[in-house]
Subunit: 353 residues, 2 copies
DNA sequence: GGAAAATTGTAGACTGATCTACGAAAATCC
DNA sequence: GGATTTTCGTAGATCAGTCTACAATTTTCC
């Protein structure tokens, strides 16, 4: 194993709890008590043990601690790291987890339900104390099962669940903000891109709620006859494809609620290539307020979900759940509209419809 | 602990190796052998044990396995998840790790060296089998120490290291591609944004190599007198600030090698606000070829580092190292230039100079 | 056909912590 | 001042696996 290169590449063995006990002249149990801040330690002993810990550069093995107690680890499950909104959520999670003494590890699974299941099992295999699932695939039943196995908070899906908590943006209100904004600008033919996944288990998924919110708001604005839901996929290519569909209509819409910034960026790309002026001829609204939306060349009007707060809220709920809460909590965070330069007055056209 | 809500919320206990042994009527050691594919198992017993595993829905605890053997976990350390280039690298890592049977967990630490150290210690505490550090902070000495503690591959820093492997883009060649491209377009006053971090331990950091590559290429193109290195930070705000600095010059450059796409996006934002036309009056080149660069509204000319290959290469090296390799390997991946619409012919101006 | 070698399975120590049970010493009570 | 309670510390089981040493077979060899 050890090559003949001399002693410099020796692996330095980590100090264990036994080493500390030996060094301090106490029992392993005593060191463990100091470590956990448990009852039954005198000030003298505590000081002595802590001095030994420092002297030996001791750090407890999270692995071994996890065997009996908790592993002080939270698992964040993410479907797509490319979406920068995820990292905003994660920032909120991390900040909150830090104050509670938990480490956060992120696992990604972009390729569907089976990969997701594998990733979550991997987290359970490592006895993570709690799971944060960001916009996971699967039915509510799948999530219930996970929630029964370990403390779980689901981000980005509307609850309530039986065995897990949820934190979501108020997608109903978000859609209303968008439609009202466009209607106030004089738009009537306002389309909506609805995401349709491969599996059809869409209970509580944002796409369902946003679509419903869109329809409700259209009705409320007296635009029921103009309701126009285009089904597709919420990524850039999906948005680009949708823009082609819209332009092919005999009577194309003048504005679109794209459902997601990624899709909105695709729509903008499609319109750009078709030579349609934004917002002169067409207004586009996204959802998530990702980084790219704020670029001045893009200046996408979008709905902001205050991701950092959602993240820290979720982490807080998770810690509560780890500490024993059983009643499910379902939280909704109010979104806000960020108006930029992809929305403008409806183009002057035939005034009657 | 259990509230009076009935039996439905019972935690289902996981099957352990003992449960499987009991069910199959063999010893725990035998089950362990089957699990590890170790020598000394008859076909009959193997089949029987595997049947029991399936029957009980058994999954080994990665935690317990890690106590003696390996934890089958790779830790990916990331400085900034907002940068979408990271997720491209991670995709490559994950794909390669999967075939070797390792799980990948990502840890982020955006707030400097001490947070980074904490994160890496957390990974060591969990006995991860190997570490992939993406563009970490710290001196080469810090990295050597980590490499001595556990198998380590560093991404995005130029090697070689003693105790760890490196995978980096050939930043020298990348800078040359940029300068040659701009020079061919007739630009002479080509500036470069150099990142300057808080700590000054920049051995092998991309900013150093890219700056040197820029200078070399300028000299090679006979533009030595025009060398113009602007120091700042490689994020959007840094780029925006740099654009102001450049425009304030008595004799402003006509093109910039921004060092990074994030910085380039900031430069573009600054130029946009100043009403400077791109590429009519000014050409901008980034580095990384992130998602936002490909948006048609942005269309940033950039250097592509083929992140997926870099990621899988790094993972491959890490697995080799885990399997016992000691000699450090230092790899450099060739970059390529993606020409889009932020670069164009140099503006016609005073021909002398 | 008996010695040597290979195969197959088990016992039990070990990993590094937690945590219950218990004994000894000190503090409090009446 | 003896009984009771509290405080402080230890022994040793436990978590869920791995892995070495060894015993009991079975196979191979000459």
């Amino acid at each position: 194993m050890c090559t003949g290169r001399g002693a410099m590449s020796e692996q330095i063995k980590r100090a264990t709890i036994s080493d500390v006990a030996l060094h301090a002249g106490v029992s392993r149990a005593a060191v463990s008590k100091v470590l956990r801040g448990a009852y039954g330690v005198s000030g003298t002993m505590k000081a002595r043990v802590e001095a030994s810990m420092v002297a030996l550069g001791y750090r407890p093995s999270a692995l071994a601690r996890g065997m009996r107690g908790s592993s002080f680890t939270l698992g964040v499950f993410v479907v797509d790291l490319q979406n920068t909104f995820m990292s905003v959520l994660i920032e909120g999670i991390r900040a909150e987890a830090e104050v509670s003494g938990y480490q956060v590890f992120i696992g990604e699974a972009s390729r569907g339900l089976s990969q997701q299941r594998q990733m979550i099992e991997a987290m359970l295999d490592r006895k993570m104390d709690g799971l944060l699932l960001i916009a996971p695939f699967g039915t509510a039943g799948d999530l219930e099962e996970i929630g029964r196995a370990t403390p779980t908070v689901v981000l980005g899906r509307h609850g309530p669940g039986q065995s897990y908590d949820t934190v979501a943006s108020d997608d109903m209100a978000g859609s209303a903000l968008i439609v009202d904004h466009l209607a106030a600008l004089g738009h009537r033919r306002i389309a909506h891109l609805k995401h349709v996944g491969r599996e059809n288990n869409e209970d509580g998924m944002p796409q369902v709620v946003r679509a419903q919110g869109y329809i409700d708001a259209m009705v409320r604005n007296g635009l029921e006859p103009e309701v126009d839901v285009i089904e597709g996929r919420w990524h850039q290519a999906g948005g680009q494809h949708a823009s082609e569909l819209m332009l092919q209509r005999p009577h194309p819409p003048t504005a679109v609620h794209a459902g997601t910034d990624m899709a909105a960026l695709g729509v903008l790309a499609g319109l750009y290539e078709a030579g349609i002026s934004v917002p002169g001829d067409f207004s586009v609204v996204g959802y998530d307020n990702v980084f790219a939306a704020s670029l001045p060349q893009v200046a996408l009007t979008s709905v902001d979900q205050s991701g950092v707060e959602m993240g820290s809220m979720a982490a807080r709920l998770l810690v509560e759940r780890i500490q024993g809460r059983r009643e499910p909590v379902s939280t909704v965070v109010a979104p806000s509209l960020v108006v930029r330069r992809t929305t403008g007055p409806a183009p002057a056209g035939p005034t009657r419809n």
